[in-house]
């Protein structure tokens, strides 16, 4: 069953805390993450299914899946001096692959790809104690042509159905966003007004409206990663978001939200 739904920013500066960042802002985002962790602990999940956009880490140009499921025994990732390893909830991962395929989604699965920081930055801060196994779910966000937002929403709706039918207590988490433009000449000028409009629609339970955004609109807004949030919106339907924080830094619209179910 699906017991909780959250979305978290994952910008690596939240983890590595370089001198370029506003300390107080980063700590406010950390406080929102701590609130997510407490909520997840109260929900007593058996597993966390986490939807994130691979930053060309697990999948380089040798093979670019639109949607993928990590279905190995464990997964691991490295970011500079940081090392992470998580056990996978194998029965859940396998059932997502099998039932996703049955529902018409041609999912790639992997049992060995590297884990991207988009997965472990939020988990670093929000993994409950004691920790639970995860299922990483990839959405291609950085290598065009990416899946359409509508397709992400449809996949999320199917995923929500799969999770609700499972015997385990499952938290669904989306990792990513909001507006940022890493590596481009717009890095220092994200679209914060656009972010606030998106969050307002999510607060009002109008998440399905985001499914009609185009890929070009997401690219223009610095929100290619919104695909992960849109996937979650497909799973939660018209639930209203409780936005824990929106903290615009000089390069990133950091948002943390829960959809109480």
């Amino acid at each position: 069953m699906l017991v909780g739904a959250f979305a978290c920013a994952h910008t690596p500066q939240l983890l590595i805390r370089p001198p370029t960042e506003d300390r107080d802002l980063v700590l406010r985002v950390h406080a929102a993450f701590a609130r997510v962790k407490r909520r997840i602990e109260a929900l007593r999940p058996d597993a966390i299914a986490i939807v994130a956009g691979d930053h060309v880490e697990a999948f380089f140009l040798d093979a670019v899946p639109a949607l993928a499921v990590y279905a190995g025994a464990e997964c691991a990732g490295v970011f500079g001096p940081y090392r992470y390893r998580f056990p996978i909830h194998e029965p859940l991962a396998r059932s997502i692959v099998e039932q996703g395929i049955e529902r018409g989604f041609d999912l790639l699965y992997t049992q060995g790809a590297a884990l991207d920081y988009a997965f472990y930055v939020p988990l670093h801060f929000t993994m409950p104690a004691p920790p639970v196994p995860i299922v990483p779910l990839h959405v291609n966000v950085y290598l065009p042509p990416q899946p359409l937002p509508r397709r992400c929403y449809e996949w999320g709706a199917a995923l929500g159905g799969i999770l609700r039918a499972r015997p385990e207590r499952i938290v669904l988490m989306a990792s990513g966003g909001l507006s940022h433009f890493p590596g481009t000449d717009r890095y220092a000028s994200p679209d914060f007004d656009g972010d606030r409009g998106l969050l307002e629609r999510m607060r009002e339970g109008r998440g399905r409206e985001l499914a009609v955004l185009t890929g070009a609109e997401l690219d223009t807004a610095g929100n290619v990663e919104l695909r992960t949030w849109i996937t979650l919106l497909g799973a939660v339907g018209d639930a209203c978001a409780d936005v824990y924080c929106y903290e615009p830094s000089w390069h990133h619209g950091n948002a943390v939200a829960e959809w109480p179910l």
């Binding site: 690596p12 590595i16 805390r17 370089p18 001198p19 960042e21 300390r23 980063v26 930053h55 060309v56 880490e57 380089f60 140009l61 490295v78 500079g80 001096p81 590297a114 950085y142 290598l143 065009p144 042509p145 433009f181 890493p182 590596g183 481009t184 000449d185 717009r186 890095y187 070009a216 690219d219 223009t220 610095g222 290619v224």
Partner: protein, 92 residues
Amino acid sequence: MSAGPHYAFPPARAYRLNRCLWAIKSDPAYCARFLADPVAAMGELELSAEERAALSPLDRDALVGRGAHPYLVFMADLRLRIAREPGSVEYF
């Protein structure tokens, strides 16, 4: 770069260049070799003279102009900076 999308389809001609950036970002052993001897490390990957010039020192605009993915340029640069200056993380 501002005329098209921020993240465009990676041109096939830039595959080796993107491979090098990916290796700096995602392969700690390659990143260490690149830091120790960039000419030798780039020699492993059949890069053109122009690509090598744009990689060391890292020139974002030249790399993106040659088809490098902007995100790979960004994160390769960040990884190199973290490796060169370990004190640049956990500042607070």
